[in-house]
Symmetry: D2
Amino acid sequence: MLVVMQSHATEEQVRAVCSVIESLGYKAHPIPGAGRTAIGITGNSGTAELTALESMPGVGECIPVTKPYKLVSRDVKPETSVVKVSTALGDVLFGGTHVGMVAGPCAVESREQAFTVAKLTKAAGARLYRGGAYKPRTSPYSFQGLGEKGLQILADVRKEFGLGVITEAIDNESLDLVEKYADVIQIGARNMQNFSLLKHAGQAKKPVLLKRGMSATLEDLLLAAEYIMSEGNYAVILCERGVRTFSDHTRNTLDLSIVPAVQRLSHLPIVVDPSHGTGRRNKVLPLSRASVAVGADGLLVEVHHDPDRALSDGPQSIRPEDYTRLYNEVNQIAAVVGRTLN
Amino acid sequence: MLVVMQSHATEEQVRAVCSVIESLGYKAHPIPGAGRTAIGITGNSGTAELTALESMPGVGECIPVTKPYKLVSRDVKPETSVVKVSTALGDVLFGGTHVGMVAGPCAVESREQAFTVAKLTKAAGARLYRGGAYKPRTSPYSFQGLGEKGLQILADVRKEFGLGVITEAIDNESLDLVEKYADVIQIGARNMQNFSLLKHAGQAKKPVLLKRGMSATLEDLLLAAEYIMSEGNYAVILCERGVRTFSDHTRNTLDLSIVPAVQRLSHLPIVVDPSHGTGRRNKVLPLSRASVAVGADGLLVEVHHDPDRALSDGPQSIRPEDYTRLYNEVNQIAAVVGRTLN
Amino acid sequence: MLVVMQSHATEEQVRAVCSVIESLGYKAHPIPGAGRTAIGITGNSGTAELTALESMPGVGECIPVTKPYKLVSRDVKPETSVVKVSTALGDVLFGGTHVGMVAGPCAVESREQAFTVAKLTKAAGARLYRGGAYKPRTSPYSFQGLGEKGLQILADVRKEFGLGVITEAIDNESLDLVEKYADVIQIGARNMQNFSLLKHAGQAKKPVLLKRGMSATLEDLLLAAEYIMSEGNYAVILCERGVRTFSDHTRNTLDLSIVPAVQRLSHLPIVVDPSHGTGRRNKVLPLSRASVAVGADGLLVEVHHDPDRALSDGPQSIRPEDYTRLYNEVNQIAAVVGRTLN
Amino acid sequence: MLVVMQSHATEEQVRAVCSVIESLGYKAHPIPGAGRTAIGITGNSGTAELTALESMPGVGECIPVTKPYKLVSRDVKPETSVVKVSTALGDVLFGGTHVGMVAGPCAVESREQAFTVAKLTKAAGARLYRGGAYKPRTSPYSFQGLGEKGLQILADVRKEFGLGVITEAIDNESLDLVEKYADVIQIGARNMQNFSLLKHAGQAKKPVLLKRGMSATLEDLLLAAEYIMSEGNYAVILCERGVRTFSDHTRNTLDLSIVPAVQRLSHLPIVVDPSHGTGRRNKVLPLSRASVAVGADGLLVEVHHDPDRALSDGPQSIRPEDYTRLYNEVNQIAAVVGRTLN
C-alpha cells in the first residue's frame, strides 16, 4: 500500500499519517519527492483497515501496490535516486547524470600494496577505493582476507589519500565493523539472499552496494534491495557482476540489459563490475565501455599494480595504466549519453 | 596434504603426528578408516616443512592433494560415510545401504499444524521431521517463520512423537538456537556460500544438512561442505534441490546426475529434495522414485495436511496420503538398488 | 479450433465436417478416440467462419484451443498414444504401460562393428537398434558418418538379426533415404527447430523420434512435434537428452522432470537418452534407472563393444555386459511403476 | 595442419604445394596475408604423410593446429578480415575500423510495407536492408513468411532504393534462392548447427551472416563458421543475438563479451543483433550503444513503421525515428573507439 500525499500537505500531516500507520502495527516509509510526499507501508499484506487513511487531511490517494516490491519501485518514487558518498576529495554521486567511478584491488593484502594501488587509482581519476578485508572464497583454503586489520588499512588509505572506501561485509559481525571503518558497505553476490545480513545492512547508516547473485533474476535483486530499504536504509546502489550460464568464454556472463531494465522499474542507481563480470583482464576495458554506453550509473573495477602476484582474482585485475585508458574512454562515452564521470 | 598412517600404527603415533602438524600452525584432521587412519592437514597451502612427517614412526606416506577439496574427498577417506541421527524411535541413517526419509511441512505455522502433520508423516513411516522456523523468503513481505517459538514447537513435536527434527538456520544467531533445539541443522540453498555461517556450523555438535545453491557446481558444493568439515564437524549430509536454468516447466531443474557424481568423488551422503527441486506437487512422486533409483541416500519431502492453505510453498507440498504412496513406491525401488529406507 | 464429434457420429459425418473445413482453406485432422472422434483444425488462427460447423450433423461441440499447440495436446486426444514399431521379432511399443528399449552404437562404423554390437544388444534383450549413418558433429573435421553406406549396413543388421532400426536424418535428402532404409526416423537435438526438416518428416510414413534441443523449453519441444503432426504424421516419440546449463559435472543436464510434464500435457510418448544426457559412461546406469522410475516410455542407450576405440562418443557408450545389467535393473523398476519393457 | 609459406614464395610455389595436398586427398585453403601466404589443410586429422611438404620450395614451416577450428583462427590468418557487401550506394564493410549498419523489418509482409520501411531506414543512414522471406517460427501456426515472393520484393527494394539485401535461408532449397536474389545469406540461430545447411552455404558465392545458436558456446560458433569456410566460402560474418539463460527480464541474454572474445581468437567480423538479443523495443537503443562500445563490427536492427501491427516480432521492432536517434548515438560512440559506421 502506498499513500500519496497532496502536493500542499504539511510535514505535520505527513507525520500524522505515519503515526496512524504505525499504531496499526505497520511500518511507515515517508519518501519526499519533487512535488509531493509518498508514504510506503510495509509489514503486512492485509489492507482492510488502511483504507481509513484516505479520509485523513492532506492525503491524496491510497494505491494498493501489486508488485512484490514497493520501496525500490518507481511507483513509490518516480524520481531517480542519486546516492551520494562524501569523501575528502568531494562528493561522489551515483545515479541521474552521474557515473560513479570505483577502483582498487580485489583484496587488501598489505599496507604497502593498498597504498601503492590507491596512489595510482587516485592519479587515474577515481575518488572511491574498493578493496576486500573479508573475502568470501569458494575454498576454505584460499586467502580469506585480513579482517579488521584490512579495515584499518582501508581507513589509513582514506586518511592518506582522501579516497572514500567501499568494502564487503560477510556477516552481521563484520558488517558492524565495515560500517565503522568504511564509507560504503558492500554485500557480495553470494550473500544477495542472506536475508539476515540484508536486514542488518538496512539498519546501518552508510550506503549499501548490493551485488546481484549469480542466479538472481531482476525481481530477486529488487526484492533483496527491498529488504534493506524496508529496514529504513534508502541509500542502496545495485550492482551487475555477471550471472552463471553455460557460456564458458568468460567466468560469468555479464547481463548488461539489466541496467535499463532496473532503471525502468526502480529509482535506484545500478553500477557494473566488469572485472567479476568477465573474469578476464582483456575483457575489462571493452565491457567497461559497454557498461557506460548502456547507461550504468557507475563502474567498479579491480586494479592491481602487480596482478600476477595478487592473492585473489589476479587474472581479472587490470594494471593502473590500463585504468587510465579505461577512464579516458568511458569518459568520452559518458558524454555521448549525457552523463559525467565522478 | 594427507598423511596416511600404516595399518599397524598406534593411537599414540597418530596423536604424535597430529601434534607436530599443529605445532607447525596447521590443523590436523585424523580420519579413522576400516584398515588405517589418514590425517588430513588444512590451514595452509605450503607443504615444504611437512615432508618431515614422512620419517615419523607409524607414517605410511604423505600425499599432496591437488583437488581443491580434501576432507570431503574419497582420496582422504575411501569408505562411504554413514551419517547417523538418533531419535527416540531409533537411529536414522544416511549413506551406505541406508536411505533416510524426512518429511514435514515447509514452515512451522502453529502447534496444531505441526502436530497434525507430524502424526500423519509418522504414520506413513518417516522418523525425521522437517519444518522451518526461520524461512529465507525472497520478499521481505512474505511469512518469515515463527523464529524461536517455531523451534519450541519442533522440540514439542520431538517430545510428543519421538521424531527427530531438522530445521534451517539462517545466521550465526539462529544456528546456535537450532543446534540447541533440533537434531539436524539445515543450511539452505541461498546460504550455501555464506561462508561465515558454514564455519559456524562446522563448530556445532549436530549433523548438518547442506543444500546445493541454485547455481552451484559440484565443486562449489563440495567446497562448501569442506568449509564445515575443516572446522571439525564431519557429519555433513549434502542435498540436491534443483538448480536454476532456462527450463520453465518446473520451478527449478532437478539435476539428479549429481548424486552418482558426488558419490564418486566424496564419501559424504547426498539426499534429494524433490519438493523444492520441482516446485510442483504432481512432480514430487515421480521425481522421488527417480531420486532413489539414481542412488540418493535420502529424501526430504514437503508434506502438509492442507497445502492450499499453507503459509509457504503450498503448491509444492503433497498431502499425507500421497506421502504414504510415495513411501511405498520408493521402498520397492530401494530394494532394486540394494538399499533400505529408514 | 477443435471439433468434437458426438459419440454416435458416423464416419460419413466425420468426412463431411472435414471436407467443409478443407473447403474453407484449412487442414482437418480427424483423431479417432476411444469413445468419439475429434477433428483438429490447423492452418489459420482465424475462427470466425468455423462456428458454422457447430450446426452440422454429428458435431458435439467446437472448442477454441488457446494453447499454441493442438495436435500434440491431451485437449485434442485425451488417451495416451502408443507408438508401434514393427520388427521381425515382434512389435515394440512406446507409451501406455510399454517401455521401449533401444540400444546400439553412436555411429555405424563398419559392417563388422555394427554386427558385433547388434548381436550383443539383441542377446541383452533389445529389439530396436540405433546407430548413426549421418552424424551431426560440432567440428567439420570429426567423423561425419558413412552416409548411405551406413544405412545399407543398418538394413543388413535388420535382415540378419530381425532388429528394428532407428537412425538420424540431417536434411531433407537424407530423410528420404532414412525413411527408405530404417524403421524409425530420428531428428537430432541440433535440428529440433529445423522446421523445414520437421515438415518433411511430417510427410514421411515412418514414426519419428524427436530429440529435445539443448535449450528447448517444454513448449518449444511440443511445438516442434506439432510441426510434424500438422503435416499428417502422428507417430511421434519425444526424447529427453539433456539440456545445456552451467552445471559441468556432466556433458548436459538431464531434465527428468520433463517426462511427467510432457505426459500431463501431451498424449505422445517420451523416452530418455541417458548416454547423451550425461556424456559419462558411469552415469548411464543410474540415470537409466531414474528415467524408468520417473515414468519414461523408453530408453535409448549407446552400446559399443569397444568404446575406447569408437569413432564418436566413446566416453558415453557402455559395454554390452553393462547393458545386460542395465536391462535387468530397469526391468525390475518398470514393474514397480506398472510398466513392462519391450 | 597449416603450411606457412616463406615471404618470398611465388604464386607458382603456392599452387604446387596446394596440388600436392589435394593429390593426397585433402583440401587446400590458400590464405594470402599481408606478408606471406598460409595454406590451411582440411579433410583429415592424420598428418603423417604431410610432413613431406616441409621440404618443398617456398615452404617456411608446417604447423600442426591443435585447436578444433583452423580457418576461422588468427593462427591461420592473423590479419582481421573485412567482409565487403557491394551495393548501388557503395560498398558496406564489416570488420577492421568499419561498423556495418543493417536495418529493416523482421519479416517482409508486403511490397508496401517493405518499401515504406526501406525508404525510412535509407533516410536514417542504413545501406543494408534486412527482412525475412522465410521465417523459422516456433509454432507451425505462426506466419511463416512469403517465401520466394518475399525474395522478389526484396530484389525490388534493392532495385528501387539501391540498398543491399540480407535475408535468411532455412534449408538447402531456400538457400539457392536466397543466393540468387539477395546480397548476404543469413543462417539463423536455430540452424547454427544444421551442418548440411552450413556446408551448402559454404558453396555459395555470397557472404554469409551466421547467427549464434541459443545455447552455443564460443567454440560451437567458431566451428559452425569453420563448416562454411571449409567448403571454400571465406566471407563469413558472425552475429551475437542473445543466449538462453534463467534471466527473464529480456527474451534472451545478450552476451556482449563474446565480441572481444571472438576478435581475439578469430579474424572474422562479428556483429550484434540487439533486437532479438533483448526482445524488447526499449532495450534496443541502449544495447546498440553498448554493442558498438564493446567493439562490434556491425549492428542488425529490426525497424518497422508500425510495429504494433507487425506480423512477426513486433514487440522488439523499433520505429524509424528511433533508428535515426540510434544511428546518431552509435555514430558518436564509434568515433570514441576509432571506428566509423557505414
